[in-house]
Amino acid sequence: MTLRMKEARRWPGSEWIKDHPRPLEIAYRLTRRVVGRVVPWMLRVSPRASEELMIAGEKVAKGYLFNCQMCGQCVLHSTGMTCPMNCPKKLRNGPCGGVRQNGNCEVIEERRCVWVQAWERAHRGSYAEELLILQPPVDQRLQNSSAWLNMVTGADSQPPQGWVMATEDTQATASRSAK
């Protein structure tokens, strides 16, 4: 039953690719650069068409590789190139307390916990320390929009005001105690 959940889908070969995250990280940096240059341009020509185009591109590329759920606020490179939205509980800050002894998911018994995989893969890549970033709540309005576009416009990095206040507060306390 649970294998039919959309979070359980894995395309042939995609797991192997993610198990070797270095090339994906290069692709990430490249995409970031290209998208950053090209998108503002495209938006000037036709905002509507560029969004459709980006969405189509993401659905194919990230859909195949990561079983992308189109949350529109990608954190893949911080989570060992493993999409946290493939966690049935949508946890973006680490594994829940229900992981099975064999490292599989509490809900989808046949699949490994995405956070077990994220941990392993992050340590084969170069962003392991980013695993511990406190990821803000998901902006549910961005569902089904283009994460690449949102990255350029900054729509993917606008946590709620209260969250921002607390983060600034923690950082101020940390820097005070460091002095």
Partner: protein, 331 residues
Amino acid sequence: MNARVLPPLRSGSRLERILRSGQMAVTGEIKASDGADPKDVIKYSRPLANTVDAINAVDGASANSAISSIATCALLVQKGLEPTLQMNCRDRNRIAMQSELLGAAALGIKNVFLMSGDDVVSGDQPESKRVYDLGSVQLIRAAKIMRDQGVFLSGRKLSKPPRFFIGAADNPFIPPYEYRHYRLAQKVEAGADFVQTQWCFDPEVFRRYMQRVRDLGLHERVFILVGVGPIRSERAVEFMRDRVPGMRVPDEIVERMRKAPKERKKAEGVNICVEIMEQVREIEGVAGFHVMAYGMEDSIAEILERTGLSPRPTGEEDSRTVEQPAVASNE
């Protein structure tokens, strides 16, 4: 004995005061009533009333509907008992969560325990919708924002911030083992003041975990209560091993329960619990126990007696904690 630099007093709950005084705290868990009769809640609370410092009221445990945590807590407060409100991320979105937290504070609930929650597949309504609008770490942060910043997640001001002693779940007994202490670090950074761990059947695994926790200095920033409890029968322990998500039950434990003669099963379960507690309490950084005794609530008193944890302190005689100014924010 306690070199801990204490953070500001959070809610002044009995649980918090006992922990701050450096004494071992003991918490328990009340059976969730499957009915609408408030007398059931009072009945179920009886074996816990003067035995533990605070009583967790579960929130749709195992994804089964039952009387709500907030109602149970309110009834316990009326009886003069100290509850801990459990809240999961499975059943409500962030709007409902924040509203409920305010309501809880208004009802006199001072401890909260915030977690992801068992998935809907564990219950009798696996066809339900999962919410998970926030994850546990984000919910912990949201509660901290309300308490310390005095605003909702959105930044809108609260007329009076709630004062909570914020609890979180911690499971050292499952993969990814190398991640688990960092996971605790995340929850502490988010705002957890205390954690209650999953049921500990394997002190060795826990000892190794605590070593890594101490390496990160976390034992001085968060109170760690270790989950323990008596087992009723061999069937119960096998069920936990095979069916309850997130449990690690070594075969020796199952074997011991199997070998115990029929009329001695419960006594053996209590023995195992006491032995584990004796081993675990010596570990540096352990601040107390969370005793889960489903269907064996009557044995809690005996367990605490045998481990020297009863009678419980009132949490009031300690001047160090009483004189603390009630600082609600970290300005």
